[in-house]
Symmetry: C2
Subunit: 125 residues, 2 copies
DNA sequence: TAGTTATTGCGAAATAATCGCATTTATATG
DNA sequence: CATATAAATGCGATTATTTCGCAATAACTA
């Protein structure tokens, strides 16, 4: 299964990179000028996740959000950082704060999904 | 809005207390002998959450899970502890591991939803 | 330029959670 | 103990998110 470049993929990735925040399929569909089918957006995003280009966050609303974050380059934070969901402006962003924990004996952690909710720096004033 | 005691509420709460793990509406409905409507279960659970008797976790599958955990009595861990979701046995439990973080200036955290996924101590062997 | 197959669009389907409304029932009160 | 009030429930419909199957399209290779 080799990957091919398509306008759709480029548009979605560019949007995520430029915005710098995590977005839902819904938001992505709205913000992209061209018409892209919803199922396609999900497929593109899931493929990005498989390839490690994008990471997925499931927020407290049960929805999936996708992000390309700069911090993911840092080995320290890769994958294991906190996300912040603002109750007011509804944005979700990657925080440059790593998740630290030590689980009881016998447990093996494969993935981490941590979301903090509240008011972000812009909405706090 | 005063709360009233009903067999339904008692059954749901007893199940959650005895099992000690976090359960979805689905599982609760299955494990309870008597017939309870699905909408009712959600309403009962949400009321428990409002009253602070139960806490809600949203896992990576986007579903809501509800738990009464012993650790919640500890002031240190109340609300801010990690949850563990086993990929194999599908159970979700509260870990006695508190979530520590310091957010950037200006952010105000209201709630925390942290779920670690992997294999639990029973499934790791 | 042609062939292979990854990708897309479309509609349907699966799943989770909520809502409106009529009915039931727990609780307080006379 | 009977009764009134409103909380709680059951039922069906509804909303929302995500996925799936299949046919059509288009990217890449040779």
């Amino acid at each position: 299964m080799e990957r091919r470049n398509t306008p759709t993929k480029e548009a979605v990735l560019e949007l995520l990179v430029k915005s710098g925040e995590a977005m839902s399929r819904d938001t992505i569909e709205q913000k992209i000028t061209q018409n892209i089918n919803r199922a396609t957006i999900y497929r593109v995003l899931n493929r990005f996740c498989e390839d490690g280009v994008v990471h997925k966050i499931v927020a407290e609303d049960g929805k999936q959000y996708f992000a390309v974050c700069a911090n993911c380059d840092d080995k320290v934070l890769s994958g294991h950082h906190f996300h912040f969901r603002c109750i007011e402006c509804e944005t979700i962003e990657c925080l440059p704060v790593s998740v630290n924990f030590s689980v009881p004996n016998g447990y093996q952690v494969a993935s981490v999904n941590c979301v903090l909710s509240g008011t972000c720096k812009d909405c706090s004033r």
